[in-house]
Symmetry: D3
Subunit: 128 residues, 6 copies
């Protein structure tokens, strides 16, 4: 699939492009949105979901970006690692924090497999 040129997009897609730019205070949308514009319904659902969940809520915005990076590393999504690491930095993440994040993600992937391998039963006091 080719990315959708914002100048040639349908009115529906153009409106989403504009909302992304306004909400994020940027002059141009990322490549992700130009490709996703090939499926306008999914583009709209994805944008509405991210706008809502990644916006003001119970967790601070930086924590949410770090979580996003953690999942993207685990799934090996290079684009998502790049875009959400950039977003985390824009929200104040330092090099030291990002390095520590990588360490936590790596350890979690390690102990996930140890727990599986030993089929560790959940302790009574950990059940919720």
């Amino acid at each position: 699939m080719k990315p959708v040129d914002p100048l040639k997009a349908s009115a529906e897609v153009k409106a989403i492009f504009e909302d992304i730019k306004t909400t994020r205070k940027v002059n141009e949308v990322n490549n992700f949105w130009k490709y996703l514009a090939n499926e306008p319904r999914m583009m709209r659902h994805t944008w509405e979901s991210l706008k809502s969940i990644m916006g003001p809520g119970s967790l601070d915005p930086l924590t949410k970006e770090l979580v996003y990076v953690a999942v993207s590393i685990t799934n090996n999504c290079e684009y998502c690692m790049a875009s959400h690491t950039a977003a985390a930095r824009a929200k104040g993440a330092t090099d030291a924090q990002i390095n520590e994040l990588y360490a936590v993600v790596a350890l979690a992937n390690m102990t996930n497999r140890l727990s599986n391998a030993y089929k560790v039963p959940v302790d009574e006091n950990l059940k919720s």
Copy 2:
């Protein structure tokens, strides 16, 4: 493998059990450690790594637990979800925060696949 009974453990393993209990201010270690005690070298490396990385650092301890939960959900590790959700709650996570965390993790897993499917090239300004 059967869990190692702390009372019958080797001196090396007993010392790690004691360090876990002292460090975490708990009376008993979780099942995870009793199973991992079957491989004392790996038990020691895992404990030393977690003690160091999950301890004081650049990210606050709650953020690190939330990241741990996020990875564990992505990998579908039931034991790890239970133990690190409990740890997150002990460090102050509210229901609202945990629910929002689940939403972020789910969205990241979704956009990871959209990025892969469209083979979205990394934007110049996102490269680091």
Copy 3:
């Protein structure tokens, strides 16, 4: 590993190359087969399995290619995404269908994690 040059392949491997070309009505086999030819037994098992399962059966051939693409996106296999998307197009898939497929795959990856995170018990009426 280097790809196996069809002209220099063993008689066993050459016969499989020929069967692939005849069955698929193509003049040359894809790179996948040239690499897999390094392990002739596995090449034969893989070809026999695919020839049988991806051939006439209970599901129509296009549906099977779309399923193949869906799994390949989920596992982030770039080669497989490319080859099976091409196969799906050759069997009639339109751009609109491929875009919708991407959306379904992304949503499934999302709700898979929500189900895991909430440890949703299977409803009685869904058990089979």
Copy 4:
């Protein structure tokens, strides 16, 4: 997290429960929705996305359910396998089709790893 009792849900959540029941012509929503109701924003986004993408479009509804099952098997999501296999059957899937689907999913997971292991370069004619 506990499931949300539809009788005690907020007006916003109740409205979504009703829309699910009306759209799907069922008397009760599945457990998935009762748990997801703990995060009303995500519940709404998920429902709106699924209602739209899994509804009428370019691919027939049964194909979309089969794709959903394929992703859920690959990710090992037991709940999602159960609910979308039931949905596929309700849309006409036969035992023979479901067995064949499992075979396709298994083969895709196999050839995904062979392609990765051999680092097979994408053929020129497969690039899009």
Copy 5:
């Protein structure tokens, strides 16, 4: 799907059941085969592939079982962990070896994510 009762299986399936029992010198096939018998073509391909690849070859049989367990832990397949750990033990694996295997698998899952996170470029001398 229900498992296929060997006594009521088709002649084709019965013959595969018999070949499994003869080859493995067992009196009954594992549940895996009884379920897979629902799709006789895939059952045959799977059996022929395993019989060939897991049989005599370049790697010793125990190594191949340990590799099988390693993949199954990484993918969190409980059935496969159980059946291939049993096979590894039958081929001589000791508790100490299995515990060490778990440690290697866990570390590989850890460094896989560190390599991804840092996007480490492959060293010239490691390219093949």
Copy 6:
């Protein structure tokens, strides 16, 4: 993140670099370690874990490298596939063994999904 130049590294990091070179009898460390040096604590834990677990133990060193490659293929970690395949070759792995390894890994990924799809219950005699 940029790799850490060994000449400009801190004394702590330099000492780890030296230990890696001495232990592995190499003149330069791989890129992996230069990047991981950005997080000295994690670098130290990772090196100590690998030095211990991948060193003399219950499994022979080649088997452990093959297991490492198997996990890395399953997770699609290109760097790890390259570095551990090179390590396996240095420890004596032949082309025939590596090709057979790839076949085993692929089959395990296939039967993992068949077991999941059919929800095969663990046989009594396989429980441990």
